[in-house]
Amino acid sequence: MTDESENPEMETHVQPSSLAGIASAAEAKKAPGSSALGVGLEARNIHAWFGDKLALRDVSLDFWAGTVTALIGPSGCGKSTFIRTLNRMHEFIPTAAMAGEVLLNGTDIYAPGVDVTQIRLKVGMVFQKPNPFPSMTIAENVLAGLKLANLKVENKDDLLQECLERAGLWNEVKDRLNAHGGSLSGGQQQRLCIARSLAVRPQVLLMDEPCSALDPGSTLKVEETISHLSSSMTIIIVTHNMQQAARVSDYTAFFLSDGGPGELVEVGHTNEIFSRPKDTRTENYVTGRFG
């Protein structure tokens, strides 16, 4: 249940120049000027505990609407813990506690009187392991969020198609929408989970290592999906794969733990983090000297 389970084979040792090259190519596609849409989500002085153990210390980050932010760092640095504080999934762990604020549209999602289900409708999440509901068909899976949250839509079929198209899955499943979700391949299941989170129209999508259980081909498809989605929403992705961070993200935040709680070391434009990091620890990590 704790945040990290690794697949270290994806963390290859790459020269910084090549990563920066990927990153600048990615940025050329979409200039960071799209942050003109405003701040999508603001984390202020986030601390997180498991029992008495401080797992995350004082992280403040702004996430701009219409951009992708990658959270990178070695195992146990608190990035998954951090992302789970952003939609209040952190509190499902029995002894978990937190301090700080997360502002969505200027309102603290931890404020007293906030309906947590409303928060999770606006801040969706895709998990490391694809987790479609096995008792439901593909179509039911996509629309599950509506049922779970008692939302009404006028045309379910349109929404179904739209979500599957945005998740890049429509062409593969349009002829078998009534098949069970479990009959899809792992990569398709993960895109089904993405489509499922899109159906409730979140402003922010959190992705916790969404490709770590997928093969390279499926990973590529999910990354294409992320690129398509990023123009219309705020995406925050935890990844162990630095090439992936370089490929899909506009901004990158580097987390590190020196044995104690995880902390945010540095955040910046992705190409800067990979080419001219300000902190030597970031440089050591992105150049593959540790981690």
Partner: protein, 333 residues
Amino acid sequence: MSSVQVSERPALPEKRQLTTKPRFSDKVFRGVVTGGGLSSLLILGMIFIFLLYQGFSILHSQGLHFITTSDWNAAVDDNNVPIPSQSHFGIAAMLIGTLVCATIAVAIAVPISVFTALFLTFYAPSSVKKIMVTLVDLMAAFPSILYGLWGFFVLMPSAVYWAKLLNKFFGWIPFFSMQAPVFDRSPFVAGVVLSIMIIPIVTSIAREIFGQTPLDRIQAAYALGSTRWGMIRAVAFPYARSGIVGGAMLGLGRAMGETVAVYTVLNIVYQINWHVLLGAGGNVASMILMKFGEATPLEIKALMAAGLILFLVTLIVNSLADVIVSKSGKSGR
């Protein structure tokens, strides 16, 4: 490579038999567990043979009447010697009574148990959970006569009140209609007592299975903005459905076999009665208990035959349950 033609390829080899040489310790352990597994089967088989041996002559002489009629008449002459030719045994009322009481018990117990299990799994704080799990498990260990006495002295007066309400508002349903205002010691009361007795086992099974609901699915539901109830409906119920059916059937089996508690609160009458609120019911196990003390040797054989039938009916019900569980599918798992 290319010079090899398909037609020249050698025939497929024989499939090899895959064996392993078992280690001595493994052989010993295998013997121990096999013995354990077989012994329960052996005991069950011996009981079955005993009942069949004892009851066969009655089943043979009475034929199908044994389960289709409801007279129970052990004729004796002046010297108290049984007269087989004039004796008549039929347990139809008892069999139907058994099923009626057990069905009432399951109908009451399953919803309560499922709600209890949901509360314990998804709502209760861990301190409350610990205490309640212990208490519910303790309930399963209570002697059934205590349930019977409590049912007789405490529950029956209130159950009679509920029965009157049921009769007043649902009397138009044939099961709840009454020919005479006798609400005491009815199948309904027996069913309520039985339901309390099977709640622990059904709760315990439902709690186990709800507790195994995969965490990633629970989180998936919550991450979609689901309420807790929405998560339970979409994730926990589909996952636990077949297990709950299995638990209910185990409870049904227990309710069908329960003897003393039913004997305490049920008025046993040799007439088929579908009116569950009326103070006249039947129960195979309780009838055996009631008759056993003063039974003639012939009557004892008839009681054994009744036991055999109960044994078989329970077996059939449990097999049906297995079919239902496998039919209701693993789709949610």
